[in-house]
Amino acid sequence: MTVTNSFSIPFKSLFTCVLAFVLCTQVKGQEIVGAEKYTQIPLESFSFFKKPSDKWKIAGGVSFGLNATYKNNVTDGTGKVVHTTAGKETDYLSSANEFGDMSVEFNFMLAQGASATVYFQGRYGISLTDSWTKGKSGTDVCGTVLENADGPTSMVTPARMNVCRAPGLWQHMQVMFRAPRFDKQNNKIGHAAFARVTLNGVVIYENLGLSGPSKNSPLAGEAATGALIFASNSVMALKDIRYMIPPNGDFASLIKPEAGTNIRDRPIIVSPLGKTIVQRCFIEFEGKKKTFCTAVGNPQGVHYAMDLSQGAMINFWKGGFIDATSMWTDRGEYQVAKPVGSKIEVRPVPTFAMLHDANEPWPDVAGDTFRFKGYKLAADGNPTFMYRVGDMQLEDSFLPKERDNSLTRSLKITSGKISNNLWLRLAEGASITSLGNDLYVIGDNQYYIKLVGDKKLKPVIRKSANGQELILSGSVLDHDFNYTLIW
């Protein structure tokens, strides 16, 4: 019997990427045509699942923190399912029903060092492991499709990049799984496949054929259907699990082509190798072009972009640097530099503002007293941005750190007297929570901000137009003021 891959995915959509959209949390997923057809798995109880071991709990709130310094905090309620303790035994959370082809998306949160797996049909596994401190790609990173049971002849395909978020943050995965095909005599005539695996907004696999089940999978053999199984021996949580059955096994028609992308254009990926790259460009924010921007890419693989008109960050990401294809191929739209990686977007409102008091709302746009003055480059290419605010000259630079995937922002005044009215805004989110030790978590466990330095800083968490914001009096600029973005 000859077993062949029988993907029915039209070529046209094979290499398209899709725009991000906001799920219930700030973790972004791929935009799926007809996303409303997804069925939300209820997490008021385990009704969707076979009754699991009592290490799995339905919960309302969950917080793990960045590392062991912070206590796991799981509160009663519904909407989340938590594997509450770590141990040697692997516990399964298995759907009561069996599925064939399916597209599934969910959010997950890992405690530091946690390791879990999601198995399709209980056989084809994808790793949900804390690879935050691992390298830029590999077969040990979160999202890796597990080695199959073929033994020495098996071939492992690394995830395209390591886009694992830090422990304690919500991550988003979307998987389009194609079941193996069988003829009427139950002979296998087509391999199973992951048509597409997306982690934190980045496609890490596409049309990966699966010649057999993963090693040590909960279910053996191959069949037309099987249970969706989450397996964990670590502290981790899940929420917003949704699935759909693609009509006729056609995944390609679920994927919306990306605006301004011609799949026949040769991709132009800009990669910082020896030196930091400062690339002036247009950057898209919430579907609109920001026209006065720069992207900054580091050999460390920790990148960011600025809206220079506001002296503000617009996004930051790890992974590849930018895709300049639409910017540099032919003329015509779309002309934006797109982050190649899992980005976190922040609304680019001014970093600096003159407030009469701590109750005055933060401005959306920098006032007339603000001017972007340019930037200077260090020998390694790292830029320092220069601003003028009133009579003050300010400098702004970033230090990327590989492995722990952080970006430390350094702000300082270089001339002029610090105005008593000067304030800095560090972050905005639906909510902002202090976790202690100068660590703040922004939004619904979206990213962290850590204040650096031995000074007793007194940031203010206050209400903003979009939730809450973290602001700080400009008096901290009497020395270099540093804070670290961690995600």
């Binding site: 247009f282 026209t291 739209e333 972007f372 200077k376």
Partner: protein, 370 residues
């Protein structure tokens, strides 16, 4: 680059580099063969030779701007945002030129000027002064001189800057295309001004003050000045522009594309022309000039498709005969036809007029800058 070589003498026409080409004039006599042999008709190549400069494989060198440096080097800005400094650009020792990457990461700098140790480029959203402060041969300081609004439309190109005798910078702001959607430009169609001062030449002081200078531009791909310090620009045929032209530019000139007039009443503008001045009865051009306040006839119009199709960069011959008998005349490159036209101009009653001639064709790519 053009150069004219006569036995033992070679002159470089300053500031004239055609993307990737050298051009030599060679002694005509040498081309004649002896009696009895077939007579080969003389071609442009027998007088002005095109020589391709060997470019490193690591860059496409899509030239956006050119500046000749006091030390004989040629600086080139590229569409993808680099500045290269080319030493030995004329290959005088019959050796290859040397390319040094001076700066990168700029946003489509379609022009390059050099003054007092610094380069100036018009990026998409700003005029930038670029300097090598630590003298290691690589730029390390990028100072924003001035900024301006953009809609983000791809066609909002900025051509320039050129530096005037007054020390100010002059930049042409291309209109955007109609990619803003139907109805965005209900009256003007085709190309439009989707942000302040699009379709204008602007003046920028060294301190960063942006003043609108002239309007009515469509796709003004060439900007330059002559030895006298007079400003000129070239325009591309299209909506409201019947054929490409070169024209002298003076403060508050209006050249005919009405989309720019959306900004005419904004603070800083002293232009007299307003949208309401544009006649809707399709007058002939010479009549429209009389009717529309501030409207100027271009100096020399070049027949579309015959002498070029998209006029771009140009240069005045100030080699005093080093490049042939064309002192004071202008050479205009064409980015669509990959050829060069020659324009003779004279001032009559205070206005330039003149005639255009084909000069050289056969280049390997369109010519944006000279």
């Amino acid at each position: 680059m053009f150069s004219k070589s006569k036995r033992g003498r070679s002159g470089i026409m300053r500031n004239v580099l055609l993307a990737v080409m050298f051009m030599h004039a060679v002694g005509v006599q040498a081309q004649h063969t002896g009696h009895g042999a077939a007579i080969k008709p003389l071609t442009e190549d027998d007088f002005y030779k095109i020589t391709t400069i060997p470019i490193p494989a690591e860059t496409a060198l899509e030239v956006g701007g050119l500046a000749s440096l006091p030390n004989g080097a040629m600086a080139v800005s590229t569409r993808l945002g680099e500045i290269w400094i080319v030493d030995n650009p004329t290959m005088g020792n019959k050796t290859k030129p040397h390319f040094r990457l001076f700066a990168s990461g700029l946003h489509e700098p379609l022009g390059l000027a050099y003054k007092d140790g610094s380069f100036y480029v018009a990026q998409r959203a700003e005029l930038t002064k670029i300097t090598d402060t630590n003298k290691d041969g690589i730029a390390d300081l990028f100072e924003t001189v001035a900024t301006w609004p953009l809609s983000g439309n791809y066609c909002e190109y900025n051509h320039g800057p050129v530096i005037g005798d007054d020390g100010n910078f002059y930049i042409n702001f291309n209109l955007g295309d109609n990619g803003m959607g139907k109805g965005a430009e209900p009256f003007f169609g085709e190309m439009g001004s989707h942000a302040l001062w699009r379709g204008w030449m602007v003046q920028v002081t060294p301190e960063g003050k942006v003043t609108p200078f002239a309007a009515g531009y469509r796709s003004p791909a060439g900007i330059g000045r002559n030895a006298k310090g007079e400003l000129f620009y070239t325009e591309n045929q299209g909506g409201w522009v019947g054929t490409g032209y070169i024209s002298k530019v003076d403060k508050d000139d209006f050249f005919g594309h009405p989309s720019s007039l959306k900004s005419a009443g904004e603070p800083g503008s002293s232009l007299k022309t307003r949208v309401g001045d544009i006649p809707t009865d399709n007058p002939m051009f010479h009549e429209a000039v009389k009717k529309i306040p501030g409207m100027k006839l271009p100096s020399v119009r070049l027949p579309h498709g015959i002498l070029g199709i998209s006029l771009a960069g140009f240069a005045e011959d100030n080699t005093s005969g080093g490049f042939g008998p064309f002192q004071g005349q202008y050479f205009i490159g064409d980015e669509g036809h990959a050829n060069v036209m020659r324009v003779f101009m004279e001032k009559v009653n205070g206005a330039y007029q003149g005639a255009a001639f084909p000069f050289r064709q056969g280049f390997m790519s369109g010519i944006l800058r000279m």
